[in-house]
Symmetry: C2
Subunit: 97 residues, 2 copies
DNA sequence: TCAATATTTCATATATTCTCGAAAAATGGA
DNA sequence: TCCATTTTTCGAGAATATATGAAATATTGA
């Protein structure tokens, strides 16, 4: 993963609403969760959630698919793994424990 | 690690200058590096670097000690490990691979 | 087609972040 | 003490991020 992508990912997760949304999606697993339900659970307005999900999408941390009237969002584990790998490799070298 | 601390850490690392500074400090190891040398290597002005280091310090990702006229900064591996643990536990549950 | 549901887009106002120049503070040596 | 070196503080301005109400879009079923 390149530095630019890593910063996009870190930045996307560095926000209360977005981190909470991402964690709910992690719990939801591959099945994902509808935007509306995410908004209800997080108690944020729909358009606010859309903004949050858009940023997570641009960082490639989540992906959307339409199902009827709902839009289901799901975590992109691949990206999250790559981000963790980047942090481990670039930010922990020299760490003994 | 609490969510608040995790967001502070993610936010601190989600910036070109700060991430670059942190990576240099990781390479420097426990011996750390003087603020001035960091500024030279990163080609940023001293006050800009101070701002970056202050944010990393507040996130407890680095720690400063004075040595003569210089101020030596060093990574706090404990915090970085805790941040990685937080991300793995809270953001990767359900990931099979 | 019409209405209901679900989500997004848009414009905007506020807040925060970022970088900078200039000045101030801390330290060591002549 | 005086000066050079190193780092930080301060204040300002530009840029970016954030959340919102209102309107628009997409989908389904009557």
């Amino acid at each position: 993963m390149e530095t630019k992508s890593a910063i996009a990912g870190l930045s996307a997760l560095a926000n209360d609403t977005r981190l909470a949304a991402f964690r709910l999606l992690v719990q939801a697993g591959p099945a994902g969760m509808a935007a509306g339900e995410l908004a209800r659970r997080l108690a944020v307005r729909p358009n606010t959630l859309t903004a949050a999900l858009t940023i997570l999408s641009h960082a490639d941390l989540v992906v959307a698919r339409r199902a009827g009237r709902s839009v289901i969002y799901a975590v992109r584990y691949e990206t999250m793994r790559a981000l963790l790998a980047f942090m481990t490799e670039n930010c922990c070298a020299g760490s003994s424990a």
